[in-house]
């Protein structure tokens, strides 16, 4: 397609409707309109100009507001669907099979269908992420399609517009003027903070052009935000680990090389309803107990560089800290959060190796439930060998004992007991309430003696290097929204013809009321001819015609 050369001599890109420079209508359709469509200044938008290649078609699809709104609506409905039943991360099951069973057990056939459709993990599904991706593409393409030509046009605009352009503006005034009319109008407009430029017999007064960029700025903010979210998938940008740490324990912090954490203890406080808290008495009585504080006191250590992994001998203390809800412990780009706790977790279990018949004990052994040993040798030479340890025994699968979690909630032990009486050894499977002897009757048993307990804290280890990007995106979005919504672009064109008469046109992208208020002041000061609102005139005309018909 060729460039469009306007009568004024300006070269416009193909597809332009109103000349970028003088505003003359460049096609017949536009010439016949009573009011010019000023939304994008009559510029050549790529989507309105080309429709041949596949790229054109894709471009045109995504640049459409209709399509954009369509994507928003579909996304909105999809997001809402995911709240009908809880998402899988809020369900008390960990394995895929258990999760599936949970939906069926609790929600019946509705749950089965919900799970089968993949709605239990809707926000991570390919189609949902695909929709968000389409929204991002639409944001980019729709913005470029409008921004580029609009920018060109506003940059190229001339002071002197063609009278056909001015007569097609919504605000129009025509009438006689004095020799100093232009001068006075310029004064007043400058007073009202307009940027005024003059050329020969005319002037252009403009205010708030930057508000035209508001929509594009807020879209850039959203794109930056979505980019930041995408970046989390890159290794090194995002750490999400859980660290279970018991009172008195010292553990390496997962995914934070060189850092070691010691727990001094976990504290749970509840509201007492006494003293200062007396005012809460009624509420506490109604609901039972209300938690006041969850806190883990920790000490952070750093292993010097060059030390062997696991070598904790020369680690240096960095800081003591209390981690509470809403008060994460931040260090070196990491943050530790108080997320969960387990009170009175089993620490050790003690047993006596007893002869079943006589009840005679060959000695005691204590099993550490977090770091059990493989062999426990008793004084008289008897040995208890731990063949298998299942911290949270959940039943047998194919004859194999299973553990639901790595936490010692319901420990199960598969042991081989060897004594001088039974040199071949006897096998036994022991849980808290039950003992199974899988290979026939044994002479000896492990008799339960006692437990020790302690509190454990569930901490989340987090590093998120995308946060500054997300913050920037949010900030730019808010700036763009404010820019586009709370400011508006106002322009007046005034020309004095050879015979001294005045032609005035006004345009704003929103808030015509404000524009008219400005113009009232200028009209008074410079004795301009009275203006009219051509759109309101047209509407009044239509109304009158409508009334005549009825």
């Amino acid at each position: 397609m060729d460039k469009l050369i306007c009568k004024c001599g300006h070269e416009n890109p193909p597809g332009t409707v109103l000349c970028e420079s003088c505003g003359r209508p460049l096609n017949e359709q536009e010439q016949n309109k009573q009011l010019a469509d000023m939304r994008y200044e009559g510029t050549a938008r790529r989507s309105q100009t080309y429709n041949k290649s596949i790229i054109d078609k894709i471009w045109n699809f995504f640049s459409s507001v209709k399509v954009g709104v369509g994507i928003i609506i579909v996304l909105l409905i999809a997001a809402a669907l995911g709240t009908i039943l809880p998402q899988k991360q809020y369900v008390p099951a960990t394995t895929e099979a258990d999760i599936e069973a949970y939906y069926t057990d609790i929600y019946g056939s509705v749950g089965t269908v919900y799970h089968a459709l993949g709605f239990h993990d809707l926000y991570n599904s390919f189609w949902f992420i695909g929709l968000v991706g389409m929204l991002a593409i639409s944001l980019i393409i729709a913005s470029l399609d409008r921004f580029v030509p609009l920018y060109r046009s506003l940059k190229n605009q001339r002071v002197l517009r063609h009278s056909s352009f001015m007569r097609k503006q919504r605000i129009l005034a025509e009438g006689p003027g004095d020799t100093d009319t232009l001068k006075k109008a310029e004064e007043k407009l400058a007073d009202l903070k307009y940027k005024v430029s003059t050329d020969k017999n005319g002037l252009l007064a403009e205010k708030g052009r930057f508000s035209r960029w508001g929509p594009y700025v807020n879209h850039i903010g959203l794109i930056i935000f979505l980019f930041g979210v995408m970046l989390r998938m890159m290794p090194g940008f995002y750490v999400d680990e859980t660290l279970w740490i018991r009172e008195g324990e010292t553990r390496a912090i997962p995914d934070a090389p060189g850092y070691v954490l010691e727990s001094k203890g976990f504290t749970l406080e509840t509201y007492t309803g006494e003293g200062e808290e007396e005012k809460f008495g009624e509420a506490i009585d109604r609901v039972g107990t209300v938690a006041k504080n969850y806190q883990t006191d920790v000490v952070l250590y750093k292993i010097p560089e060059g030390a062997l992994p696991g070598d904790t001998a020369d680690m240096e203390m960095v800081e003591e800290h209390a981690i509470r809800v809403n008060q994460p412990f931040k260090f070196d780009g990491y943050a530790l959060y108080q997320m969960d706790f387990q009170q009175d977790e089993l620490k050790t279990m003690s047993f006596a190796l007893q002869n079943k018949e006589t009840g005679e004990s060959r000695g005691d052994l204590t099993i550490d439930l977090v770091n059990p040993e493989t062999n426990y040798e008793l004084e008289d030479g008897s040995v208890v060998e731990l063949l298998g340890y299942y911290p949270d025994f959940s039943g047998f699968e194919n004859g194999e004992p299973q553990t639901a979690t790595p936490l010692p909630k319901n420990p199960g032990f598969l042991v081989k007991m060897t004594t001088p009486d039974t040199p071949d050894g006897e096998t036994s499977f022991i849980t808290i309430q039950n003992t199974v002897e899988p290979l026939g009757d044994n002479d000896y048993k492990l008799a339960f003696q006692g437990v020790e307990t302690r509190d454990a804290s569930g901490l989340t280890v987090r590093k998120d290097r995308t946060l500054p990007i997300l913050g920037l995106g949010g900030l730019i979005f808010m700036i763009g929204v404010a820019q586009g919504m709370y400011f508006n672009h106002r322009r007046f064109w005034i020309q004095q013809q050879a015979d001294g008469s005045i032609l005035l046109a006004g345009h704003t992208n929103k808030n015509w009321f404000g524009l008219k208020k400005d113009l009232d002041q200028v009209t008074e000061h410079a004795s301009l001819p009275a203006y009219r609102d051509q759109q309101e005139d047209m509407e009044a005309q239509e109304k009158r015609e409508g009334e005549q018909l009825t």
């Binding site: 909105l76 005012k279 994460p328």
Partner: protein
């Protein structure tokens, strides 16, 4: 009188003031037979004065309650919903100052009254904050959201007035049906308030034992005669009304009972209104909109969304994400409340694109504004009470 008493008395004063102002606004609109604005202005001035007195009283309630509890009074259903009523009235006062529209007061104030009445059905005693709420972000996030929602609700009120005026009540149409459906649902809220108040005043209580969805034995107290029984229920109170129907474990029969009572009483109320006046409610309200300037209503609808949408984005998404990052270690977790905040955001984004990009103004905009309010109410009521999540309070 303790500070706590002063606080609840101020709320009562506010409620009464809004109630009186509703009628004065109604009178101002109705009395203006000639369509001149002089008489409307005179009574409008009286009405807005009473409204402002009510608003100041409610602000007094808010501040004194803050002093009593030691935290921003927006931490449970009662407090949040009451504050929503307050910001709704606050938003109206601002728009009245700009546009002097008595008819807007006639619609907004009864809605605010209903919202405050609804709020008072929840436990209103002073409650302590759980650890997750102990931060200044509670005040920052929730107050921003409640202001935004109050302003957005004004756009729905303006939309409603627009629809009351333009929809032809003589001709059967989808529009006429849905408009009346909105009126009906407002009466249902009244039904809930009436039922709850009745059974609270008569001290109705019945305890039941039941088996919950995890198979554990539990107990529940009904404050209304149990129509639906919980899974495997056993009455524990002598002479209690025996439930007519037992529900499966995932259905909270206690809440369902409350809903059914409210719907039943609300429907009876609605039927009585129809029987007495022989007119649809929207038809009764239509004469009040005779002098309404449609363009102005459309402008108020759009203007309140322009003000409300950025505040909502800031409070319900940006501040929410900052707090979620601090409290829960992730800025976003697809919790139902988060999702519905996003749904609200997307909905108003669609509204703005349709209006600015495709010229959807007037009646279309009015419907959208009303739907926006429905989404906000869904997020407030249903997501808190039905869909369990991290935000379920009260």
């Amino acid at each position: 009188m303790t500070l706590a008493d002063i606080s609840s008395n101020l709320l009562f004063v506010a409620f009464i003031a809004y109630l009186i102002a509703t009628f004065v606004f109604g009178g101002a609109v109705k009395g203006n037979k000639k369509g001149t604005y002089r008489s409307e202005q005179r009574w409008g001035k009286v009405a807005i004065t009473i409204t402002v007195i009510g608003f100041v009283a409610q602000l007094g309630y808010f501040i004194t309650r803050w002093m009593v509890t030691g935290h921003a009074p927006i931490s449970n259903m009662f407090e949040f919903t009451t504050a929503f009523g307050m910001t709704l009235v606050g938003g109206f006062i601002i728009l009245y100052a700009l546009y002097k529209t008595a008819v807007l007061g006639m619609i907004v104030l009864p809605i605010a009254l209903l919202i405050i009445a609804y709020a008072s059905m929840f436990p209103s005693e002073v409650s302590p904050l759980i650890p997750a709420l102990q931060t200044n972000w509670l005040a920052i996030h929730v107050i921003t959201v409640v202001i935004a929602e109050g302003i957005l609700a004004i756009s729905a009120a303006a939309g409603l007035i627009y629809l009351l005026k333009v929809i032809d009540q003589k001709k059967k149409s989808k529009q006429r049906f849905w408009l009346e459906a909105i009126m009906y649902s407002l009466v249902l809220v009244l039904g809930f308030v009436v039922t709850s108040t009745f059974f609270t005043l008569t001290n109705y209580e019945a305890d039941f034992a039941y088996v919950n969805k995890d198979g554990q034995p539990s107990e529940i107290t009904y404050n209304m005669p149990a129509i639906f029984g919980m899974n495997e229920f056993e009455p524990m109170t002598d002479g209690a009304f025996t439930p007519l129907l037992e529900m499966p474990p995932i259905v909270h029969a206690g809440k369902l009972t409350t809903v059914l009572w409210s719907v039943a009483v609300g429907t009876v109320l609605y039927a009585l209104i129809r029987l007495i006046f022989r007119k649809r409610i929207s038809e009764m309200l239509q004469p009040f909109t005779k002098n309404v300037n449609l363009q102005l209503m459309d402008e108020i609808n759009y203007r309140s969304i322009i003000i409300g949408f950025p505040i909502f984005s800031l409070g319900a998404l940006i501040f929410a994400m900052i707090w979620a990052q601090i409290a829960w270690s992730r800025f976003w977790g697809w919790d139902p409340k988060e999702v519905w905040a996003l749904v609200t955001f997307l909905f108003y984004a669609a509204y703005l694109h349709l209006r600015l990009g495709r010229g959807w103004a007037g009646e279309k905009s009015a419907w959208l504004a009303v739907i926006g309010f429905v989404i906000i109410m869904f997020n407030l009521v249903a997501v808190n009470l039905i869909i369990a999540g991290l935000h379920s309070y009260a």
